[in-house]
């Protein structure tokens, strides 16, 4: 097997240059690559284009990068939880491309599956369709949407082996596997790094061929955004 292990977040992101286009896995704060985000904040990489479903919150996740003005452009589907984001957007400091969540996911899939473009009905008849090619199949209109072209994809998995095979836990899976397939260079941080042979080949979510660097992350906070509970009765 090919060994993809790197020493940690710092090494994993060391060659992400200013101006790079990067994908970041996660949905809300669930399944985000905390270690790599913190390393990018520490390194203060600038002018990034970030493809991520959400933009974190003011003091956690991508919000930390926004606060430091590291992000030139965000491509996201929902950014409602981040006041600093909204301020930068309304003031024109930040470019934002808001796209439907399924379009975001499927443009990742297209990149990972070598499909240059896909058709989706999402956004037909709305401002999302502006300037886009529309095509009718069987009486229904679809937009042509292009595969993403990302320099780096950064994902967070539950377990990974040294060959880069990844397993995600529960709904922290979300965008992580599709982004893992979509990066020119894919970096995976995992809660538990294991030897090859420790993971059952039938239950690998992301085969190692898609992963270029893997390391065991540390000090995961895994912050909960909306803590909702029911009463014991």
């Amino acid at each position: 097997m090919i060994n993809k292990v790197v020493s940690g977040a710092e090494e994993a992101i060391h060659d992400i240059p200013d101006g790079a286009t990067i994908m970041l896995g996660g949905f809300g704060l669930c399944g985000i690559p905390e270690n790599c985000i913190n390393a990018l904040v520490a390194k203060n990489t600038k002018n990034l284009t970030c493809i991520s479903n959400n933009a974190g919150v003011d003091d956690f996740g991508i919000g930390l990068m926004l606060k430091q003005r590291q992000v030139k452009k965000m491509i996201s589907s929902y950014v409602g939880e981040n006041a600093e984001f909204e301020r930068q957007l309304l003031s024109g400091e930040l470019e934002v491309d808001l796209i439907p969540q399924g379009t975001l996911a499927t443009r990742c899939l297209a990149a990972g599956y070598g499909m240059p473009a896909i058709f989706t009905p999402a956004g037909v008849g709305t401002e999302v369709a502006e300037g886009k090619e529309i095509r009718n199949f069987d009486g229904k209109d679809y937009l042509l949407e292009y595969a993403f072209d990302a320099d780096f994809a950064i994902v967070k998995a539950w377990k990974g082996d040294t060959a880069g095979n990844l397993i995600f836990r529960s709904t922290s899976r979300n965008f992580n596997p599709v982004m893992a397939m979509a990066g020119k260079i894919t970096i995976a941080e995992v809660e538990e790094l294991v030897e090859v042979g420790a993971l059952d080949p039938d239950y690998i979510h992301t085969p190692g061929i898609y992963v270029h660097r893997v390391f065991q992350g540390k000090d995961y906070e895994k912050r909960i955004e909306q803590r909702t509970v029911r009463k014991v009765h």
Binding site: C30, G31, V79, L98, I99, Q101, L104, L109, S172, V229
Partner: protein
């Protein structure tokens, strides 16, 4: 008496049939889960990647890795499955989800919906709403009949940026149940107990179609 949010949810729950896969949006739609009749089997889909969503966890049992599309901590039911975002929206586009229930800022008489953006004011993004409304075979909107300024949210034409066009099949508000006619127009099906047809007329800016006697909504 106009219905409460809980009652709107309760009324919508009656639209859910045995064997349905259902996607519930944020807000009133989320409440619908509390009123599913116990004698039918349905499955809730959460578009962040889950089929078989269960109730909120008990205190102390929250799992940061297990949330719904509203980012709330939840649980799974036996028989649930987890998948990635591409498959989640794949099954939505392929119309495997039988019913989608979501909120709206505006609905037009031809079935357009606006629920994601107020230019210059609110820029949160559309999340999965555009995918859901573009693909779902059956969409019910749960919302207030009028906004806080007292203006009707059932319009001849939406004034806010659209989320989707000609996609809404039914609207349930605190005042009424209405479906949208293929040729356009809100057809009044039921009214809240004690709410008059005239009152609904005044609260509806779009074309309202009234055929025969309109029964009162019942909740079970």
């Amino acid at each position: 008496m106009a219905f409460t949010k809980e009652e709107i949810a309760q009324r919508i729950a009656k639209e859910i049939k045995d064997g349905y896969y259902v996607n519930l949006g944020i807000g009133i739609p989320t409440l619908v889960a509390n009123y599913i009749p116990p004698d039918i089997n349905i499955v809730l889909q959460s578009e962040n990647g889950l089929l078989g969503m269960g109730p909120f966890p008990f205190e102390g049992e929250e799992d940061a890795d297990l949330i719904n599309a509203g980012k709330q901590t939840i649980t799974t039911l036996p028989g649930s499955s987890i998948f990635d975002s591409a498959m989640s929206f794949g099954m939505i586009r392929a119309q495997k989800v039988d019913l989608t229930i979501l909120g709206a800022m505006e609905v037009s008489e031809n079935g357009d919906i606006a629920n994601w953006k107020i230019p210059g004011k609110m820029v949160k993004g559309m999340g999965g709403a555009m995918d859901l409304v573009a693909s779902a075979k059956n969409i019910i909107v749960a919302m207030q009949h009028v906004n806080k300024a007292g203006e009707s949210k059932l319009l001849p034409k939406c004034t806010l940026p659209l989320t989707g066009v000609k996609c809404i099949k039914k609207v349930v508000t605190e005042l009424a149940v209405l479906d949208i006619l293929p040729e356009g127009g809100f057809r009044l099906l039921e009214r809240a107990p004690g709410v008059s047809v005239d009152f609904i007329k005044q609260a509806t800016a779009g074309r309202l179609v009234i055929e025969g006697k309109i029964p009162e909504m019942t909740l079970n």
